[in-house]
């Protein structure tokens, strides 16, 4: 433990002094993490060429380097410095790859997948119960939510738009969008409970 803390302290000392060698070491560490993320997602990125993926990893490492240097004072030594730094590179790479996957694609904000809820092979009783649940959900979404909550819930939870992509299109942040999603879900649960609909009907 003591050795790990000493390693973290060395990182902090070198980076606070903006020592070129430490900054180069940090960049190499962040690039390794960004490439790791790109490699993990590669099977879903068949439309991107190898050099495009490497460019994304490099950009992610560059941006993560800026984030880490700007936030050095928020590192409190409660984890290893390397673990703490890695998360910035993984986030930058993941966000860039999600955005790239949705580049040029329309982001649907209206329900397009109510059919998700259509089940086959149900008994008539179960089908009735389920159709009541479905009606209550649709009514809750159109009546209990504000227009913004409705758009966010539908886009994220029904249409499967990645949260970073939606934040980008709506000019907001991921944290703010998640708060909206959370509030919308709470209101929808409350609506179902007031209507006496059990979600166990699923």
């Amino acid at each position: 433990m003591e050795v790990l803390q000493e390693q973290s302290r060395e990182w902090l000392r070198g980076l606070r002094e903006r020592d070129e060698e430490w900054i180069a070491r940090l960049h190499a560490l962040l690039l390794r993490a960004a490439r790791f993320e790109v490699a993990r997602r590669r099977p879903t990125l068949s439309h991107l060429r190898g050099n495009e993926l490497e460019e994304i990893a490099l950009e992610a490492a560059d941006d993560a380097l800026m984030s880490v240097l700007a936030r050095l004072d928020s590192f409190r030594g409660e984890s290893r410095f390397t673990t703490w730094a890695y998360k910035f590179a993984l986030l930058e790479a993941a966000v860039k790859l999600r955005k790239r996957a949705w580049q040029g694609r329309e982001v649907p904000l209206e329900p397009e997948s109510w059919s998700l809820f259509a089940s086959e092979e149900l008994s008539p009783e179960a089908e009735l119960e389920q159709s009541e649940l479905l009606q209550a959900l649709q009514a809750g979404i159109s009546e209990a939510l504000t227009p913004h909550q409705r758009r966010v819930l539908v886009a994220l939870a029904l249409n499967g738009i990645p949260i970073d992509v939606l934040a980008d299109r709506l000019g907001t942040t991921r944290g703010a969008l998640y708060k909206t999603l959370h509030d919308a879900r709470r209101k929808l649960r409350q609506h179902l409970s007031e209507e006496g609909v059990s979600i166990d009907a699923a």
């Binding site: 790791f36 993941a94 999600r98 998700l116 089940s119 949260i163 179902l192």
Partner: protein, 77 residues
């Protein structure tokens, strides 16, 4: 379409019933959570609402899986 699919779709719409943290807190705690998790510690006690958030937020779930895989892989080497 079977009932497990409906349950999943409902889960995405309604989120977890228990309290959860938000994306910003999740990112802030992520490194400490992963290290405790890899050490076999009690993450639910140390980070209330973290696991509920991972079930409800696909983006944070992916980033958690990546950090755990990256750091866990290094520990094995």
């Amino acid at each position: 379409m079977t009932r497990p699919d409906l349950k999943q779709a409902l889960g995405r719409l309604l989120g977890p019933a228990e309290p959860e943290i938000g994306c910003d807190e999740c990112f802030e705690q992520l490194d400490r959570y992963v290290e405790l998790e890899l050490a076999g510690g009690d993450t639910d006690a140390a980070f209330p609402g973290f696991r509920a958030h991972l079930t409800a937020c696909p983006a944070c779930r992916e980033e958690h899986e990546s950090l755990r895989a990256l750091v866990g892989g290094e520990q094995v080497l």
